[in-house]
């Protein structure tokens, strides 16, 4: 065996980043905003997928971790002028601790499947209500991050609206998240996480401390999600209990992975591109519908409905997500080609 082959997923990620480096030169302000959104939800989808796709613990409450990151960054910046980079780390640590608590308690009380998902949902809701009632965090009004230092500061992650720095920071955070997940999944720990997902009892009989690897996956997923939350807070200069801990946030986080493919390294990334662009397209189309559909103009909530139907159709036809479906198609194609290439009976290929 050669020393150690470079993982092709890492090579792919490096190429993707290289291609995306000049992107801000070609994007206008509006498009740059969409690009940041794609990157942010790719990060969140990849993080969610680590726990729910690879470790098999479906989370319906990732807003809990996201919100901790968002509030840590917003609160520390606003109250004491601490850099949101620090807030990001503080939020990540807090989220990891919360993840360990959720993972341990659900293991201890044998919460599985739907019940586990409901428990994560309950935790996020609980945090939303608690934060809404905390005057120190400005209650339901949320926290607005003030502009400091002239509005262009790496330390405070504050730049002019649409500045390319936002794009590059989002790209870097996404890339680091993806690298972390690739390295983890390809490692011995990753194999043990997958084995625990496939059959916890079988894994235990094979000498695997299933709880340990479950907690590892949950806490890493939680910490990375909090990083995304912190970025969200500084990007929008604002966070409140609903945009941090609301159930809509949990759904937005799991959607890219569910559409793109849970348990696949690139599924959530492709999913984020599709979900975000689809959302934008639907909003655009309903705001300015073509002549024939002019009567639809101004119908409230129409974009949400169309968006929802499109997602339902997508999930109905590709229940396992896009990337696994494509992979299956590729295998079938390869097999067909191999069958055609195989010599007929009685033929002898010259050697």
């Amino acid at each position: 065996m050669p020393a150690r082959r470079l993982d092709r997923n890492l090579v792919g990620l490096a190429l993707l980043c290289l291609v995306l480096l000049p992107a801000p030169l070609f994007l206008d302000r509006f498009q740059a905003g969409i690009a940041v959104q794609v990157l942010l939800f790719a990060l969140l989808g990849v993080a969610w997928n680590l726990m729910s796709g690879f470790a098999g613990e479906f989370s319906f409450g990732h807003a809990a971790f996201f919100g901790l990151g968002a509030y840590a960054a917003a609160f520390l910046t606003t109250s004491s002028g601490i850099s949101p980079w620090v807030g990001m780390v503080v939020g990540a640590v807090a989220a990891a601790v919360l993840g360990v608590a959720i993972g341990y308690l659900s293991f201890r009380y044998r919460l599985k499947g739907v019940y586990f998902a409901l428990a994560t949902f309950a935790v996020a809701e609980m945090l939303r209500l608690v934060v809404s009632g905390l005057d120190a965090l400005n209650g339901p009004r949320g926290i607005t991050i003030p502009l400091v230092g002239g509005g262009s500061s790496w330390a405070m992650i504050q730049f002019a609206t649409g500045a390319r720095e936002y794009f590059y920071i989002a790209l870097a955070l996404f890339a680091l998240t993806q690298v972390a997940v690739i390295l983890l999944i390809r490692s011995r720990w990753g194999l043990l996480i997958l084995a625990t997902r496939e059959d916890a009892e079988g894994a235990a009989a094979a000498g695997v401390d299933a709880l340990r690897y479950r907690l590892l996956a949950i806490s890493a997923s939680a910490a990375l999600t909090a990083v995304g939350g912190a970025y969200y807070a500084v990007y929008y200069f604002f966070v409140n209990p609903d945009t941090a801990f609301g159930s809509a946030v949990s759904i937005s986080i799991l959607l890219p992975a569910v559409v793109g493919g849970t348990g696949s390294l690139w599924g959530p990334v492709l999913g984020s591109v599709i979900v975000t662009l689809l959302g934008q397209a639907v909003v655009g189309a309903t705001r300015a519908p073509p002549e024939a559909l002019a009567f639809l103009r101004g119908v409230a909530g129409l974009d949400r409905m169309i968006y929802g139907v499109a997602l339902i159709v997508m999930i109905m036809f590709l229940p396992r997500g896009l990337v696994p479906a494509l992979a299956k198609l590729a295998t079938l194609g390869r097999r067909r080609k191999a069958r055609e290439a195989r010599p007929a009976k009685g033929d002898y290929a010259p050697t």
């Binding site: 065996m1 997958l194 059959d199 894994a203 009989a205 000498g207 299933a210």
Partner: protein
């Protein structure tokens, strides 16, 4: 000193005494067959020894260490490896990685664990499927995979739960050959089996479980002549 000492082990489910006051020893390097009618408590006894169930009373001592109530993975790492009657493969993982998971309990690197797993797959004739997902394996293949995974722990003792059940005769012969070779290598075994020819051929001693209690214990000859065993399990025709 025996390798495995089970003393006074009991476990009830509701009002049902699945295993009641079972005591026996397994000496290092011997093969012990565990037989008994369906529902006699054989699998429960296995689960109690392997740590998958906690006993109501009694103790299990493996290799001089009390393992009663220890978690399954700890017991597995001590060198007491089990297989499941209903196989539990990691379906989405490759056959090689299924075994590598267990090898990781001793090997520090994934690379070394996979190398170790490959030699075990070769020994059990699973090598051709190494890179395929375990889901493609037939029942016979999955039974062998169970044994492969247990062996990857480099166990001092194997607990085999009906590894011959559901196999056609040619597959069965192959598994018996594998068990025979493991016996020659000096691996201690306790195995539950309904296929009497295999039990007779492989065992140094036989334990008979009936209604959760130990009905008889002895050499294959002694046990097959025991009236109570014939009535409870073997049936009259086995005598002739």
């Amino acid at each position: 000193m025996p390798l495995l000492e089970v003393s006074g082990l009991s476990r009830s489910f509701g009002g049902l005494r699945a295993v009641h006051d079972v005591t026996f020893q397994v000496e290092q390097g011997t093969v012990v067959g565990l037989i008994g009618p369906n529902g006699a408590g054989k699998s429960t006894l296995f689960n109690l020894i392997a740590g998958a169930l906690k006993p109501d009373a009694g103790a299990v001592v493996f290799d001089g260490r009390e393992t009663t109530g220890q978690p399954t993975h700890t017991i597995a790492r001590l060198g007491l490896a089990r297989t499941f009657q209903l196989t539990r493969p990691f379906l989405a993982l490759s056959v090689l990685d299924n075994v590598a998971v267990a090898a990781l309990s001793r090997e520090a690197s994934l690379h070394a664990a996979r190398a170790e797993a490959r030699t075990i797959l070769e020994m059990l004739g699973l090598e051709p499927w190494a890179s395929q997902p375990a889901a493609v394996l037939s029942t016979a293949g999955r039974k062998r995979l169970e044994v492969a995974r247990a062996l990857a722990l480099r166990p001092r003792m194997l607990l085999l739960d009906e590894v011959l059940a559901g196999l056609i005769p040619s597959e069965r012969q192959r598994m018996v050959d594998i068990l025979r070779r493991l016996r020659e290598e000096g691996i201690t075994m306790l195995f539950v089996e309904h296929v009497m020819s295999a039990v007779m051929a492989l065992s140094n001693r036989i334990l008979v479980l009936h209604h959760g209690e130990l009905l008889a214990a002895g050499t294959p000859d002694e046990v097959t002549r025991d009236r109570r065993v014939i009535e409870a399990y073997l049936g009259e025709e086995e005598l002739s």
